[in-house]
């Protein structure tokens, strides 16, 4: 892979994530059928759709938490689901944030952020600590760095999880319903962090039910149903002028 401190034209031109003819089945249950998606550098793509439509599965195929049944998933110039791909190297550059936070309960907030810096990127203790503190500050939790996850609110835990992913300087961030498990009053802090990231130019693929977030922050909105992309376009196109019945139904139900 090329070094990251010089950004060549080719890297700008190339999508960060490219999905071609992706199909995923669990046994007989076909969850994704022929999904095609390209996400450019700096783009924020929001994925909407009813529960069970395959949104999480798309994200999980991008970092190979699920193995695609067929089709191609590319991250920059590497095919993720090809034999011989160093998937750990790949995942280092693909940040993921889960609905259930999945913080490591035996480590402090700082310990959570430091782990991969130390064990994957082989940073020194001091360097890892500096980065961890910087990241926690960025998500507004500088004063909680020595707290354990059980001592933090859900919103704080999710922000630690975001800091943990950001610490590795990912080229793309995947959010899987990052605010769905949170009490309503805690959702805002997490969305603020995500909005800041989007404004800062982070490439993001965001599965969400937060329509206001999608409307404001997304460059492109994708509506999925039953394992296919039904419709995609700018937030204005999707929210104000949906073309398909299923999209209208879905948005209508939410209104």
């Amino acid at each position: 892979m090329s070094t990251r401190n010089t950004t060549s034209y080719a890297e700008f031109a190339q999508p960060v994530v490219r999905i071609k003819g992706l199909k995923k089945a669990f046994g007989d249950n076909v969850v994704l059928r022929d999904v095609n998606l390209e996400v450019d550098r700096g783009e924020v793509v929001c994925i909407l759709g009813p529960s069970g439509s395959g949104k999480s599965t798309i994200l999980r195929c991008i970092n190979l938490l699920e193995t695609p049944t067929s089709g191609e998933v590319w991250f920059e110039d590497t095919q993720v689901n090809a034999k011989g791909t160093d998937i750990n190297k790949m995942r280092e550059h693909i940040g993921m944030v889960f609905q259930q936070f999945n913080l490591f309960p035996h480590l402090t907030a700082r310990g959570n952020v430091e782990l991969a810096l130390r064990q994957v990127q082989k940073k020194s203790k001091d360097e890892a600590k500096d980065i961890a503190c910087e990241m926690l500050e960025r998500v507004g939790l500088a004063d909680r760095s020595e707290y354990y996850p059980s001592q933090l609110s859900g919103g704080q835990q999710q922000r630690v999880a975001i800091a943990r992913a950001l610490a590795l300087a990912p080229h793309v961030m995947l959010f899987d319903e990052a605010t769905s498990a949170l009490d309503p009053e805690l959702v805002r802090d997490v969305l603020d962090v995500m909005r800041n990231l989007a404004e800062g130019g982070m490439t993001m693929i965001v599965v969400t039910h937060e329509m206001s977030f999608a409307r404001e922050a997304a460059d492109r909105v994708i509506f999925m149903d039953e394992g296919v992309i039904v419709e995609e376009g700018t937030p204005t196109q999707i929210f104000d002028n949906p073309q398909h019945e299923r999209t209208k139904d879905f948005l209508g139900h939410l209104a």
Partner: protein, 243 residues
């Protein structure tokens, strides 16, 4: 009543037995602790084999655990104590030890006893480890892997530390069981506490030495048992917090 007191609580006999049983106490401790420590890597290996993707790894581990847990330790001791010396590998390890005595017992006796106890205990620890590892929510492994940690590193830094915390009480209970089971080595003439007390009993036609031995077992098992309860309670509380 008089006779029971006389047969089991004869102070004269107890006084006579005390130093002899006390001298055998470290022998029982060596077999208990040593066997348990050796069983930990064995149990962990078996646990990973049982969770492996490949049948070729799973199958031998499953058979091993079933056989060991499905037969009496007393029988395993009889078979292996006399069977191990037929194994070439055993003799390679045992040869340099044959000249050494510890606490009046030949080092090869320790080797055999420790091997047998750890082979037995590793089967039980295997199931404890496996259940423990599988009780950690799937999201933990997924989060670790999504950060780019390899499978072994995810195990070492994320899954196992959480597992150890959860299974420590169960592991200690298993240790208590193993420590008591060292008494079964008496059947192959290993001079641990039970055999030591039996020899005294035979010599003086009185069973009071057994009570002395019982006290020595309790010396370790009661405090440890308390500790297990304490840790279980604390664990239940902290898990309650997390939920």
């Amino acid at each position: 009543m008089e006779t029971i007191l006389h047969v089991f609580f004869n102070l004269e006999v107890m006084k006579q037995a005390l130093p002899i049983v006390a001298a055998a106490f470290p022998v029982s401790l060596i077999f208990g602790f040593g066997g348990f420590l050796l069983a930990i890597p064995g149990g962990l290996t078996l646990a990973f084999m049982k969770m492996a993707r490949y049948r070729l790894l799973r199958w031998p581990a499953t058979v091993y655990v079933d056989v060991v847990r499905g037969t009496p330790l007393a029988l395993q001791i009889l078979i292996l104590y006399f069977g191990l010396p037929f194994l070439p590998i055993y003799n390679v390890i045992a040869a340099p030890l044959s000249g050494i005595d510890v606490l009046g017992i030949n080092a090869t006796v320790y080797l055999r006893g420790l091997l047998i106890l750890s082979l037995n205990s590793s089967a039980y620890l295997c199931e404890i480890f496996r259940a423990g590892i599988q009780s950690i929510p799937r999201g933990q492994m997924e989060a670790a892997r999504s950060l780019g940690l390899s499978l072994p590193r995810s195990m070492a830094f994320v899954i196992l530390p959480q597992t150890v915390r959860r299974i420590l009480p169960t592991m200690m209970s298993e240790f208590i069981l193993l420590f008591k089971d060292t008494a079964l080595l008496a059947s192959v003439a290993v001079m641990e506490m039970t055999l030591a007390s039996k020899i005294i009993a035979g010599r003086v036609f009185n069973q009071s030495s057994y009570v002395v031995a019982a006290c020595f077992y309790l010396l370790l098992t009661i405090p440890l048992g308390r500790l297990v309860s304490y840790m279980e309670n604390r664990l239940a509380e902290s898990e309650g917090d997390a939920a």
